[in-house]
Amino acid sequence: MEKENFTISVYTENNIGLLNRISAIFLKRHINLDSMTASQSEIKDVFRFTIAVKVTEEQVKKIVGQIEKQIEVIKAFYHKEEDIIYQETALFKVASKLLFEERQIQNVIKNSNANIVTVTPEFFVIEKTGRRREVQALYHKLEPYGLMQFVRSGRIAVTKEKMNISEILESFTEEAV
């Protein structure tokens, strides 16, 4: 089976040790994460991890099974690229003098739908949100001019299909009573 890019969504209780528990599942199988993001979800007190990983579908199924087995995990899903809307954000810190010395750089910024978020006499910061290849394309265009700093966030994603987390939570609560 071929390795593919998968995005795993994990809905969890807000628990201090859960990050460790989830990352241990990958560690145990010697699988490197492309990225991991944790944030609040659409439901109060429910957290959402978004994990990007390149594995086979068989592997991702088993990983999701192991993640879901953790007590404080409400539900875990895996998605293929076509099932989700996803974005990453990158920040580029560039020397301000380049803006004036290298006129081409302004076109690069304009054409890539990037934003300039701050400008100081010494440096300016460009923000680019998009798919990995778009961010990467801008990186390659800016790199020859010299980057003072570059950072890219983990992937965040929403699915095209419904997740039904509220219903899942309700079904747990009903059974518990």
Partner: protein, 577 residues
């Protein structure tokens, strides 16, 4: 007799609900029906020990000689009683010494609650004396763990701990309590946990899967069952027996499934796996339907997965969704507790007998008996065999004993040859293969089933890994029977060295002490047997004793355990020599 102070203290604690976290720990345990715990005191858990002293008439604490021993004893207790085992220790080294037992309980699905003390919460993260991140350390080997830093959280966390440990697929849980939470005060009220929002212990059974499974069962011409510990954990022994008898399907077991069905049952065809029986291993690759009941297709069971039961349809009766399709793809997965799913399927299966098919197992039995079993049970050589010791124990106990085995050759011999009439009788470290498990586990096993005979079968290697627990036996006088099968080798490793490493016996030969003298040092009656003529008499003396008893049997040094499926080979490539 109760002293006056004890009586007064009792009154006070019943009347007031304001109490320390340490007292709340004890009250939680009592509310969960715990009357026995295993542990070892130390700085960060002293407030709880102080309460244990006050409650000593209600909650019995067994002082093991090492924290690892406390976990294995709790495991042994859980395995024979069906209740949750409880172990308690201090922070730092006390907690890290729990690790092996917790990992063992996790992989063997044993319900256990471990309580560890922790440094005061203001010291967390400061590398304080005896501080260790036991939550971080135990995360991958616990079903759940939690650190308590406030006294008021203790009741709810412990209630949740017991619920999680016992429900669904059981497992170990660790609760780490900071010292300030033990000293702190709370208004105590205990409510048992009835559910956790994000946790579904038993998955729903899809009625379609029951129908699909029964159809496959009724159509099958050469069906075979492999049952595991799920039957015992689900208390489904009766349901299994009814199902086996009605369907007439030959039934084999995994090492942890052993004793769920009496070994003498006519449809019990023996053990699968690396050192299992010839017939069930060979016929795994001939059956047309394999019913996996409460087992997880461990690699020691399946051998090479590429050639495992490829010709067969697979029905997997399983409580843990993560186990389905993990190692072996199931054609039908029947989710749920096997107690329920087996009773649901029973009326749908036809009453059958598969005599011709069963006969195939018997034919392989004859081959295995001639090539392996006969010599193991009735050796022609002068040297004693491990098998004949087991035969002797079977004769004296009539298959009614609990056998606790360690890890290695003697374990395989014990599981292959011990006879069992009753469930929850085989206690061994299956998944983790923890040498040193048996001696402390036997202590717990006996305390979990005090009316039953408990015989620990241990090798000379594993025995010395937890030999200090003789002190626990001495102090508690728990009447366990200890049999050390001594071949002066780490026998299983030596066997592999012989077979796969051209007899290069690297560090497997043991220069052993006088085990009888050591046992006697602990005032345990002890005997050593080197010759066949004294063996049965010694076993009889041991079983007749109402006290702890130590029996060392010096067995043939370089015997091998057969049959054997070499690592990575197919189950049908099982070797008889």
């Amino acid at each position: 007799m109760e002293t006056q102070t004890q009586t007064i203290e009792k009154k006070i604690t019943v009347e007031t609900k304001r109490m320390t976290g340490a007292e709340a720990v004890i009250r939680c345990l009592l509310a969960e029906g715990v009357d026995l715990i295993y542990g070892y005191p130390g700085g960060a858990i002293m407030p709880v020990y102080d309460e244990l002293y006050k409650f000593r008439d209600q909650l019995h604490h067994v002082l093991t000689r090492h924290e690892q021993g406390a976990t294995h004893a709790a495991q042994g207790y859980a395995r024979t009683s069906g209740k949750v085992g409880v172990a308690i220790a201090t922070s730092g080294p006390g907690a890290t010494n729990f690790v092996t037992g917790i990992a063992d309980a996790q992989i063997d699905s044993t319900p256990m609650v471990c309580i560890t003390g922790q440094v005061g919460s203001h010291l967390l993260g400061s590398d304080a004396f005896q501080e260790t991140d036991i939550i971080g350390i135990s995360t991958p080997i616990t079903k759940w763990n939690h650190q308590v830093t406030k006294a008021e959280d203790i009741p709810a966390v412990l209630a949740k701990a017991f619920y999680i440990a016992k429900s669904g697929r059981p497992g170990p849980v660790l609760v780490d309590i900071t010292k300030d939470a033990q000293f702190g005060e709370l208004d105590f009220a205990y409510e048992k946990c009835k559910g956790v929002r994000s946790y579904k212990p038993v998955p729903d059974t899809d009625p379609k899967s029951i129908d699909a499974a029964s159809k496959l069962i009724n159509e099958a011409k050469k069906p075979m069952i492999v049952f595991g510990q799920g039957v015992i954990l689900g208390e489904a022994e009766e349901e299994l027996k009814n199902f086996v008898e009605k369907s007439g399907i030959p039934s084999a077991w995994t090492i942890l499934g052993l004793s769920a069905l009496p070994t003498a049952h006519p449809l019990n065809v023996g053990m699968v796996g690396m050192h299992g029986n010839y017939g069930p291993n060979k016929l795994t690759n001939e059956c047309d339907l394999l019913l996996a009941i409460g087992m997880r297709f461990d690699d020691r069971v399946t051998g090479n997965l590429e050639t495992y039961a490829k010709q067969a349809k697979i029905i997997h009766f399983e409580i843990d969704p993560a186990e389905v399709d993990k190692n072996v793809k199931a054609d039908v997965a029947v989710m749920g507790n096997v107690k329920n799913t087996l009773s649901q399927i029973l009326p749908l299966v036809q009453s059958r007998s598969h005599n011709a098919w069963l006969q195939k197992f018997k034919e392989y039995d004859v081959i295995e008996y001639d090539k392996v079993i006969k010599e193991e049970l009735y050796p022609s050589k002068d040297g004693l065999s491990m098998g004949e010791v087991l035969r002797g124990i079977n004769e004296e106990t009539r298959g009614n004993a609990i056998i606790v085995s360690d890890v290695g050759q003697h374990q395989m011999i014990a599981c292959r040859y011990a006879q069992f009439t009753t469930s929850k009788s085989n206690v061994t470290s299956g998944g983790l293969g923890t040498m040193g498990f048996a001696l402390p586990a036997a202590i717990g096993a006996k305390m979990g089933a005090p009316q039953r005979e408990v015989v620990a079968i241990i090798g000379d290697g594993g025995y010395q890994m937890t030999i200090q627990e003789l002190g626990t036996i001495f102090q508690t006088r728990v009447p366990v029977k200890i049999v050390v099968l001594n071949n002066d080798f780490l026998g299983m490793v030596r066997q592999w060295q012989q077979l796969f490493f051209d007899k290069r016996y690297a560090s497997t030969e043991m220069v052993n002490p006088n085990f009888v003298t050591i046992a006697k040092g602990y005032h345990i009656e002890a005997r050593r047997v080197t010759e066949r003529e004294h063996l049965q008499d010694a076993i009889a003396e041991m079983i007749a004793s109402t006290e702890p008893y130590f029996l060392e049997v010096c067995v043939e040094k370089e015997n091998n355990v057969f049959p054997m499926i070499p690592t990575g080979a197919s189950v049908s490539d099982i070797r008889l020599a």
